[in-house]
Symmetry: D2
Subunit: 347 residues, 4 copies
């Protein structure tokens, strides 16, 4: 951390600042430039987290020279993390496809979806039982009944399951039925929830918030990691910008940035990242080519009948076609489309 | 709601769409333009909330011609809502100032702050007991102990109290100690929390999310209103944009927009809206002049010692000076700086 | 400027960087922290403008600790600049109102507007002769004929005139007819144009670009100032964000930020900043209360007949009413609504 | 176009609006819903471009149901445009790589770059002779001298040349030396310049503005097309968002969106789209996979000595390696990496 003094700061200003820094257990390193004096802080910067240096007389600004995350950082963990979801490995050169309907609607709809996405090569089934909806009047999911249907679909197909958790109250029941707990964009900075997720041993897929910087996203991961749960998967699902031609702006730059800063695997969600089914294949391909460890894609047997997000869902033939393209890309890029370790197909 | 057909849509496409709309209990009104056919839907549009019209063959886009909120709308409630907080009225031409430290830190710090802001003309004391922090390593509040100190400060000064609730788990205890429950920007779309807030009878101050449109903000208010709690106060606290000279971009446009679309009172928070203490007076004045029903301002007896948000906190003399300016503005604009109904000064 | 080295940088990396910096005529100051080594550069940083330090082995990032502008900075020019427009003073505690139609359309329309805004208290007449339009099919102004009408209106009323220049080709003719040359948001970084404006002696009003940071805006002013023209007036007219309820997001934070960083006067344009006539009065008041040196407001005798921007134009009675509010605010804030020095009313 | 009336609009309001629409030569189609009456306009909407309907009594909002561009639209030109640059074809399933230094600096630097990028498989040489720079103190290009060096490099290698035009003054000289005229992001809405580009017969590469919507970008293309020049190539180079980890946010969603809305070819520029050399390969691959018709990549023989944009330039071995990956991707996706028609290698 570097503190920049104003041009007109006095010697007393500097002395008072130095004293405060040393009181926090840090060393000080002063550098006088032609226009500005800058003060470097040496020591464990967690000592000074949130300290209001800019309230001191003569201080112009505070500049952070290192990232605030530690456990999520490649500096401290150079090797990529591989999250093992009951034998399906996420990260480390594998390419994992998660697919299924936005919401679990009925037993038939879910089982039909599950069989179809598995046949096309997906390893993980997605489906929402608890749905965050902008309107209080919209369908908000089947709840625990939906979780049970997901578990039934897992039994029937051998797919692993990912589903969203929206509040602490349902943590136990969601953890009971799912293989990966998804935390949605709107909960990325739900700090009480993140703290509890650090205390369990279950993979967490943490979606990026609509207006979260990559640094804030990694800090949200740090909450979970610092609690003791090291199985965190990131998911880029688009950010909010001025562009209105798409529902969100899928920020694929985030893929190489995360790969450089962190060891955690990162998944791309082109369904929310575009909001339009016809753009999903292009952006699925782009996500893989950018280096993502996997894709999360909404697939519905009949999008025109979907109770949520029908506009961005692929139908089954579209998904099959896309999986063929992904296979070709994966070969060209030297990735492994993960093979399931145990082939537990129900009769 | 209007559905726009593609140029190449066929008669069959149109017929299939019409049938689906009528099945949802709506009437259809078709209008053929030179380039596009458009289909108007007539009826209660909550029938078609989230229905995937764009998945139908031949559909280009769906255009919403009315806002999705009802209870928050001026159309259905033309008179401004006045929220009565134990005699302090928010809305309807009053100007209310909420002030106090970012976090409750110690008994002395809080009581000193409370006496100072009351003397300067504030009616409501702010102070965080549960603090959302980007970093898991930062100070995150005194919890219930902080709530008790707030209640003690209320006793000592006669000020009303506003404090943040972060999760359902603490709803009862926060509701017990505070006069207004604040929902922070990061929880604006915490839908399970919003639903529960609709079931209690306690004023809620709902901060706008960092990347929430005004429409989404009003939809979040609709969650609370639709549960039966009509005492919702909005708070503009800055949105996230590309500008980095300030912590957030305070969107004062939101004040007249909210006044036009809704009957709910709106407060401006220039402390979070700028992130820099020296910009707070200018933006406090601007908020009042834009038509806000009140201000929420961070004040600390010694900002350089604050455990959070010191950089954006005014000290007591700065706050006193600002309140003089606010008084002059308020007179010029014909507003009432609310007088307290009962003068309960502790000995 | 401070250069941050990667954790894994070697002694050779550091030596190579130091040599390169010294070759550029700068001194080096190395500071070794616990996690990172940082390298301070001492000397005139214009020596290293744009130098690709991040291409050096071992370099993680470059951090700027001072602003890149000099002539626009308060550090080098502590007193506020007052621009004298033929006796009308902009800056230094005066409050100037510029008003008139978006476009000059006809002689009658312009003269009627001019007399009306003068009677209501405006000192400067606005009106576009060259109009930037998103569509090639829209009305794009009367050109030189419009400039002549502006000059006629000036004769008739004693108002000063501000109008937009869109390209170098028309610099001479625009400069001949106007008192202030306006540079629109889309030309804020038209660098060849800015360079030429530095060579003339005529006040320039530089609108902020739709996605320009305040620093970039001041750098655009620096282009003009560095050419030798010191009469630069800034104009905040709203930035582009995700919010769609308004045409732009008026960033009033920019007013106190500019006042802190720079000595240049700043005007607020609530017409473009909101895009909706009914929001203009609130945001005009807010702009004044935030500390702006003036307002630029679109006024049309009959907005429903306007050829451009009718939706955001006030009619004459609305403008008169607003000017009454501005007068009251101005008194409350101790501002001077500028009185004209010479009363040159044409017969 | 659809006009939405307020709930409280009267019969007179509606009649006045109808009369005004009919006076503009359009037909009216009224549709009464439960909450709102909506008015459809039938006819050529260029008649009503910019008409201020929201200034009419009783009007709530205006909703556009078709895009404002015609010549750039797929509706009117279903087949993809292929721009022929002296035998190098852009669009229609070819994949073209443009590469070279940010700025032309010296004869040696440019020739070395040109030979290297040609050997690696590029068909078009990029290099700036006129450089837009945020700071007036930064290197701004060699001007006409740079154009001559580009022409010399073309002679020496057989590569085609693309370079930026910044103002009308240099249109003739730039057109003389280059094969494609590049219009930079900051000039995307320089309307006088766009109009002149419509009058010449030379391919134009139009970069997307930093805060331009895709619709505005296509309207800028419409300016050129409507003047009679049909050889327009679009270039996505990143938009401005809140994210600071990268210089811009490369919006690859724009690729499938443009492909759906328009027939014009689109190029991706990952160098400006990320601002960091180490992210360029990932985003080059992603651009190709998203369906772009080509890439524009900054390559410099020695990025650490570059006078501009060194931080985002690849060196030659990095570019060679990337071209191998692009070749593999291109094969997997069934694209043609364009072969030059005539092999004019200089001795």
């Amino acid at each position: 951390m570097v503190i920049v003094m104003r041009a007109e700061a006095t010697g007393n200003d500097l002395a008072a600042l130095q004293a405060a820094i040393e009181e926090l257990g840090m060393q000080v390193h002063v550098s006088r430039g032609e226009e500005r004096t800058i003060v470097g802080l040496i020591g464990d910067k967690r000592n000074v987290e949130g300290f209001p240096f800019t309230s001191f007389s003569g201080v112009e600004s505070v500049v952070h020279v290192t990232h605030p995350f530690k456990l999520a950082s490649r500096d401290f963990h150079p090797e990529p993390t591989v999250v093992d979801v009951g034998g399906v490995k996420i990260g480390g050169g594998n390419l994992v496809v998660m697919a299924g309907p936005c919401s679990v609607e009925t037993r038939d709809q879910l089982l039909e979806s599950a069989h179809a996405v598995k046949a096309a090569g997906a390893q993980i089934l997605r489906g929402g039982a608890f749905k965050p909806r902008t309107s209080p009047y919209a369908f908000n999911g089947l709840g625990v009944e939906g979780l049970k249907l997901l578990a039934e679909a897992r039994e029937a197909t051998g797919l692993k399951v990912v589903t969203e958790l929206m509040d602490l109250e349902h943590l136990d029941v969601v953890a009971e039925y799912t293989d990966i707990i998804q935390i949605g964009a709107r909960n990325m900075q739900n700090f009480p929830l993140l703290r509890e997720l650090g205390k369990i041993q279950k993979p967490i897929m943490l979606k990026r918030g609509l207006s979260a910087t990559i640094e804030e996203w990694l800090m949200a991961a740090e909450y979970i990691l610092s609690g003791g749960n090291s199985d965190v998967i990131l998911c880029e699902r688009g950010i909010r910008t001025f562009e209105t031609a798409t529902r969100n702006t899928l920020d694929l730059n985030a893929v190489p940035v995360v790969k450089r800063l962190s060891h955690l695997p990162v998944i791309v969600d082109p369904s929310h990242g575009t909001g339009v089914a016809s753009y999903v294949p292009a952006m699925s391909r782009a996500g893989v080519a950018a280096g993502a460890d996997g894709l999360m894609i909404e697939v519905h047997p009949n999008p025109a009948k979907a109770l949520s997000d029908g506009a961005q869902s692929l139908n089954v033939p579209q998904f099959q076609s896309l999986m063929g393209e992904i296979q070709a890309l994966s070969n060209a890029l030297g990735l492994r489309l993960e093979e399931r370790e145990t082939e537990t197909v129900s009769p």
